[in-house]
Symmetry: C2
Subunit: 302 residues, 2 copies
């Protein structure tokens, strides 16, 4: 028997939009969002979890929906003063956002696990969904470039994706254990659906899949040469399906890509996947859930 629980695998901005749609159309406590922590890094002595925080802010209704990350009604006094003190300012931290980083850093230093802290912060933010970092262990996405391997945020924010990507590696993934909430969501009663959110497959979803017990520990190879395509020009949906081959039972294809449907050998749901408004997010979330239910009905019970 399956539960009513829906599990979403999610990165930051794009994924969080669908997670919000799912959160709004599902019963309040039916959603577990497993979030990428491969982007996490230490900056200014603070532990920062960009994707987790984007999901928290989005589900709490606090996100800056214009830029897609950070908080609404944010002030930037900290960054302005930091600049006058000669500090590093390439990673923008709003004053309110900083409260979350300072609290997380303090509590981690005190021995609490990341997932415990995030669960408590989610409670304070009155989020009824389970927001679970993929692992309490440190997993760091490392970007190989012709000049050597660099940290993800160095590549992504400081160097604005300028270096040519030769490899991607999720350092620590091999020995990382999934967070207790991940295990709880996936074991026992099978969830009604596991939804891979429209987050970057290589940068946001692959790190989640790289944590061994979740998908049997297969090595995720760096998509050499693909990352530039990924970040610069429109993706070919067929290559995403190929990337998730063996893992997914169906794929939601954007209506604009209808022409490539024949190249995809998987059940498809064609829909408008651009989530500009809150209505878009709810509509797509409902379509995805209905699609998952239909796929589930088709499969032999396990």
């Amino acid at each position: 028997m399956s539960s009513h629980r829906v599990v979403a695998l999610c990165g930051g901005i794009g994924g969080a939009k669908l997670a919000l749609g799912l959160y709004r159309v599902l019963p309040a406590d039916a959603l577990t969002v497993i979030v990428n922590t491969g982007d996490d890094f230490e900056h200014l002595g603070l532990r920062i979890s960009p994707d987790v925080d984007t999901v928290l802010y989005t589900l709490a209704g606090l996100a800056d929906t214009e830029v897609g990350w950070g908080r609404r009604h944010e002030t930037l006094t900290f960054m302005q003063v930091l600049a006058t003190l000669g500090g590093e300012t390439w990673f923008r931290l709003g004053d309110g956002d900083l409260a979350l980083h300072v609290e997380r850093t303090r509590r981690l230093a005190g021995g609490e696990t990341l997932s415990t802290i995030i669960a408590d912060l989610a409670r304070h933010l009155e989020i009824a969904a389970q927001v679970v970092p993929m692992s309490d262990d440190v997993v760091s996405t490392r970007v190989g470039t012709p000049q050597g391997e660099i940290e993800f945020q160095d590549y992504f924010v400081r160097q604005r994706c300028a270096p040519r990507v030769t490899s991607l590696r999720f350092a620590g993934a091999g020995s990382a254990r999934p967070a207790p909430g991940v295990v709880a969501a996936l074991q026992g009663h099978a969830p009604a659906a596991i939804i891979i959110c429209p987050s970057n497959p290589y940068l946001s979803i692959d790190p989640i899949l790289a944590v061994p017990p979740l998908v049997g520990g297969q090595a995720i190879k760096g998509p050499t040469g693909k990352i530039m395509t990924e970040l610069g020009v429109p993706l070919t949906p067929a290559s995403i399906v190929e990337h998730y081959s063996g893992l997914i039972d169906g794929f939601v294809l954007d209506a604009r890509d209808r022409g490539v449907a024949s190249a995809i050998d998987l059940p498809l749901k064609v829909s408008d996947t651009v989530m500009a408004t809150l209505d878009d997010r709810e509509r797509l979330a409902q379509e995805v859930l209905d699609f998952a239910a239909a796929l589930r009905a088709r499969k032999p019970r396990s």
Copy 2:
């Protein structure tokens, strides 16, 4: 031969006012301010140096002159959000102020000394005076109360000086070494004057004097019972003179206390010591310097 260097021993708000006056009437680089760090503490995982920061902000012209500490034009988004996350909010940290704490904490963790960091921050804030923490070693003012010993900021800010003080102790002072800038300012050419700023003698000046090589390592005993007087009702100038007995060559007495002058067996300068305006600070600073010069002329050359 004495140098033109003037050394000021200083705590926070009151002392910083005179330090600013001295800074403005002296040649730009002639002043060394040795600042109490006994109030320093770790809060939210950050190392905070309240007196040093007040001196930095005051000399840089950035201080909030209404409350006497913190920065002008400050925002409080961090504290507001921290409250929503269930964090500790009893010690108010402005968003801009936080930049200084985060930088200091990061650089201390990287192995730099406090005095090196403060010198660099002072340079970024375009302060020409030397601002020197009394020691690079941790010295912590501990307040004895009937309920046991507590940290200074717990007593001073969180409990708003409510507990009855039974003792004061400067933990770590016995083994602390004065910061290199302290030694440089006091050794070699004798300074033209050493000025004890109008900071709380027991809480702000005694910790500086407790760092051994500076005054020969004498134990500074807690002024049992005095601290409540100190913080609640007007002080008797004679008790301050008595407290600094053997250490000072002269005392600046407020004109309002002229009546007790006969009880003080030391050279006195009677003046208006209330420093409401910037003019007040410059005037008092000049009077203090002139008084010190006169005292020096009277003493046999050493």
